[in-house]
Each structure stands twice: as C-alpha cells, then as structure tokens.
C-alpha cells in the first residue's frame, strides 16, 4: 500500500512554473466549481438572476448611445460599435480586478489549506468567459435591430476570445502578485483602467483621434488590437489580417507567460504575506 502513496518532497519540485501548471490541471474541477460559484452567487439575490449578465452591457450600451450617438453621429450603427468595445473592455476590467481581489481578500484560504495559487486568477478568467459568451446573446439582438448583418467573419471569434483571455490572465496574475505586496495597487488600478479605456477607442470612433497621435495611441496599446479582433469581424464584417491576428496573439501569449512566471516565482511567499 505504502508504495502507491503520493509523495510530497519539498526539495524535489519541478520549476514553479511547471509545477503550478500541473497542479492547476489537477485542480481543474475546483476551478470549475469556483466559476460556477461566481456566476451563480453574483446575482443570487436579484430577481432576474443570471439574466443581469446580459442586461448589464446592454444597459451600458443604451446609456452610451443616448449620450454619444449625436456626438459621434457619423458612426454607422453606433450601438453595435460601442457594444463590441464594451464587452471586450468589461471582460478585461472584471477578470483582472477579480483576480486581484480574490487573491488578497479570499487569500485566507491560502493560509489554511493547500491549493494551487493560480486558481483564483484562472477562475476569474473562467467566470469572465461565461459572462462574455452570455453577452453575445444581447449583442446578436442589437445587431439584428440595427440591421447589421452577421457575416461569416464571426467565425474568427474563438481566436479573438482566446487572445483576450490569455492577455487578461497574464495581466491578472501580474497585478495579483503586486497587490500582495502593495494593497494600494487595487485602488490605483481602477484609475489606470479608466484612463486606459479612454485612450482606447471603445466609445468613440477612431477617426476623432488626431492623425498625429494615432500611431502612438493605437500601436502601443495591446487592447486596441484585441478590441479590433472583435470589432472587425462583428461590426465591420471583415476578416482581420493574418499579421494583425498573429501579433495580437503573440502579445497575449507573452503577457500570459510573463504573468505566470512572475506569479509562480513569488507564490510560495504569498502564504506568509497575505
């Protein structure tokens, strides 16, 4: 019997990056449970429940359309334009913020029992994915109402979502490891997030940005490219170029790997800090 037992040896560990990956895979059922918990409990006491996941971006779109459609009057089917940006942005802000807060506030668990430390960030992205997919339903309705045709280009969406998810995971892990040491990061990030959103053409058309700034503003902003991966196929109805797709995906993969590396390298220390 003793021979079949799993052995934990504190000295014989794979590099943290690899070990964490193995453990996260072993705990995949936990990640699923956490996603389930987050999706179910978020609106548990409200009357409409999970439907809020769909109503939320819709409401925001409505407000923004009322406020800005005159200002950006030249933009065709403004509700579709703005909604395609909002769902991407909400995904980023929700998942990264929740990865951070779950680790710092929910980190009590890490003091008490062993579990892979990346669990919280992965589960946050998982929850975000569920919300994102759900919000595609009202999105389709808005497209239909505004007479925007759904084209074959929408088939690229899984790649766009993957890119977004990888980028958000990397950023979430990076922010979480920072927030363990500096609790103020969470607050600061909210402000940064707001500024970042206004620097990204989410609610305004690209054309209003003065020519001189465009190159800087768009090329140095990974979120611009990721938003384009959604907006081009859904709103414009055209395929993103292979170069655009590849560069966005590469940036996202680098972000995910970097976040994972930094986080796992530090993770052993979290239990002493949180």
């Amino acid at each position: 019997m003793a021979d079949t037992l799993t052995v934990y040896d504190s000295d014989r560990r794979a590099p943290p990056m690899i070990e964490e990956l193995i453990q996260a895979l072993r705990y995949r059922d936990l990640i699923r449970q956490l996603v389930r918990r987050d999706v179910l409990t978020r609106y548990k006491r409200s009357l409409l429940g999970v439907a809020w996941t769909m109503l939320n971006p819709l409401g925001m779109m409505l407000v923004l359309t009322l406020a800005f459609s005159n200002l950006f009057g030249g933009t065709r089917a403004y509700p579709v334009y703005v909604l395609s940006g909002i769902i991407v942005w909400s995904f980023l802000s929700q998942t990264t913020t929740s990865a951070m807060s779950q680790l710092t506030w929910g980190g009590v668990l890490l003091h008490r029992i062993y579990l892979p430390r990346t669990t919280f960030a992965i589960a946050s992205v998982g929850t975000g994915l569920v919300n994102l997919v759900l919000s595609l339903v009202p999105f389709a309705v808005v497209m239909a109402v505004t007479g925007t045709p759904v084209r074959l280009t929408a088939l690229i969406l899984p790649v766009s979502i993957l890119t977004l998810a990888l980028f958000a995971l990397g950023l979430g892990l990076l922010l979480s490891s920072l927030a363990v040491y500096f609790p103020d990061v969470s607050e600061m990030y909210q402000i940064v997030l707001l500024g970042w959103m206004y620097l990204t053409p989410i609610i305004y058309p690209e054309q209003i940005v003065p020519e001189a700034y465009r190159w800087w503003m768009f090329n140095l902003n990974p979120m611009y490219h990721i938003v384009q991966l959604f907006r081009l196929p859904l709103y414009e109805g055209i395929w993103p170029s292979a170069a655009r797709l590849a560069s966005a995906l590469i940036v996202a993969v680098i972000m995910a790997a970097f976040g994972w590396l930094v986080f796992t390298h530090r993770a052993d220390e979290f239990a002493y800090r949180i």
């Binding site: 052995v7 934990y8 008490r112 062993y114």
Partner: protein
C-alpha cells in the same frame, strides 16, 4: 466524550518501516515589514533611503523529526511556539525556508473544516466546492456523495442556502466532507468542536475507524495528560526549536520541569 476515550480504545498501530513524515533541519521564516508599507511612493522613498527592513521571525528553526506510519504523534508547546506552523508545513500550506520536508500520502488537516464554504450556495453545492478545494475530483465526490450527506444528517436542509444553517450544521457538513476519504495522515487539534455531543461521538468514531485502518495522527495539544495517555511519542517545541523529542513520558517530564523552572 473526548479524543482520549477514542484513542484509548483503538491505540496506535505503528507499522514500522519507512517514516511517513520526515523533517530534515526545517526552518520557516516569516517576514513582517516593520511598518506596513502600503504605497509605491512610500516604498520608493524607503527603498532609496535603504530603510526597508523586515522583521524576521523564525517560526521554526532547525526542526528534525520523523513520524512512523500508524503512529499517534503528539506535539506540545506553548501558544506561539510553532506548532501550527509545523502542521502547515506538513499540509503544504507553507514551503520551508530551509531544510527538507517529506510526506507520504493523503494529508487531511482536520483543523480547517468547511474551507471556502459560501453562504449563498446550498449545502449540496458547498459539498462540491469544499470537496474540490480539498483536492478531490468531481467524480470522487459523486462516488461518496450519498455517504457524505448521510453522515452530515442535515435532511432537507441540504438544499437550502448555507446562511440558513446553524454553526453546528455547518461544522457537521465540513466534517462530513473532510472525512469522507481515508486519510494517510490526519492533522488534529485536541479541541475538536463539531456540533452537539451526539455528532461529536460520531466524528470520534470515524477518526477511530481510520486509525484502525492505519492512518497516522499528528495531534496538537496543551493537555499533558492526553499526550501521556495516547501518544507513544511526542515532541516539545518552544520558540521554533525542538526542546525534547522521543517517548512521550520523557517529553512531558522535560516540559513540566521547564514550566516549573
């Protein structure tokens, strides 16, 4: 009804052979910043001035010990002596700063019942959440679900949100999940508060059953008579160091002598 009665009836079942837990010169260091540095600005200023000094706190220093399979092993010491840290190292919550830890098999820390329970989820949903937190797969939980619900004995409440439970009911559910699988190593605190007397009895019976089938128990306690009565071997820790280890009669004697001095 206490742990003592249970272990008296079952006793230890040392199987000999390779130790199931081994500590080789284990040290654990907590780093507590002197004053909490909350912002980058503060950090940058202090960094420049070279004033970032962490207060180092060694919770364990050079602990070497071995626990044989099937043993009931006692850990004694004052509050803050390092007992909990030692258990956390066994359960992998803390990675040793120095030294090496070696543990064989499935460890159940019976100190943290109901970890991650969510008040808005039903008892049934919480079983899956808590079970997966303890490292079990959904399939494993499904296999034992009937048994878990049976043991917790919550009746129709199992479908109600956890916030409607009494604290005793929460503890029962937590225990039922934690103890649904035969552990190889059981981490126990002497004070095991799990609901009313009848349920306490049930829990202790379950622990006894697992001991009979060879589980190793690591027991933390303040009560010398418990150690004396139950644990063939024990260790006394103070200020993170092993002060005395070996047959529990000797360890308890050393501890008592130091307490008088």
């Amino acid at each position: 009804m206490s742990l003592r009665t249970v272990f008296k009836s079952t006793g230890a079942h040392p199987r000999g052979g390779e130790p199931i837990i081994r500590f080789d010169h284990v040290a654990v260091r907590y780093r507590v910043p002197h004053e909490r540095i909350g912002s980058f600005k503060e950090y940058a200023i202090k960094r420049l001035q070279g004033r970032i000094n962490h207060q180092e706190f060694w919770a364990l220093r050079d602990v070497t010990l071995q626990i044989a399979p099937g043993e009931i092993f006692g850990i004694i010491g004052r509050n803050g002596a390092g007992k909990s840290t030692l258990l956390k190292v066994i359960s992998r919550v803390l990675h040793p700063t120095r030294g090496r830890v070696w543990v064989r098999g499935h460890v159940v820390p019976l100190l943290e019942l109901g970890a991650g329970f969510h008040p808005e989820l039903t008892g049934h949903e919480n079983v899956f959440l808590n079970g997966t937190l303890l490292g079990h797969s959904k399939r494993e939980i499904l296999e034992r679900l009937g048994e878990i619900l049976d043991f917790a004995g919550l009746g129709d409440f199992i479908g109600a949100p956890l916030r409607t439970y009494s604290s005793g009911m929460v503890a029962r559910l937590g225990f039922a999940v934690a103890m649904a699988w035969q552990p190889d190593v059981l981490l126990l605190d002497e004070i095991l508060a799990v609901g009313d007397e009848a349920f306490q009895r049930k829990c202790l019976d379950r622990i006894a059953l697992y001991c009979d089938s060879g589980a190793t128990v690591v027991l933390v306690t303040h009560d010398m008579s418990v150690v004396h009565a139950l644990c063939p071997k024990a260790v006394w820790i103070d200020q993170g160091r092993v002060q005395s280890a070996g047959p529990s009669a000797d360890v308890v004697r050393d501890y008592a002598r130091a307490a008088q001095a």
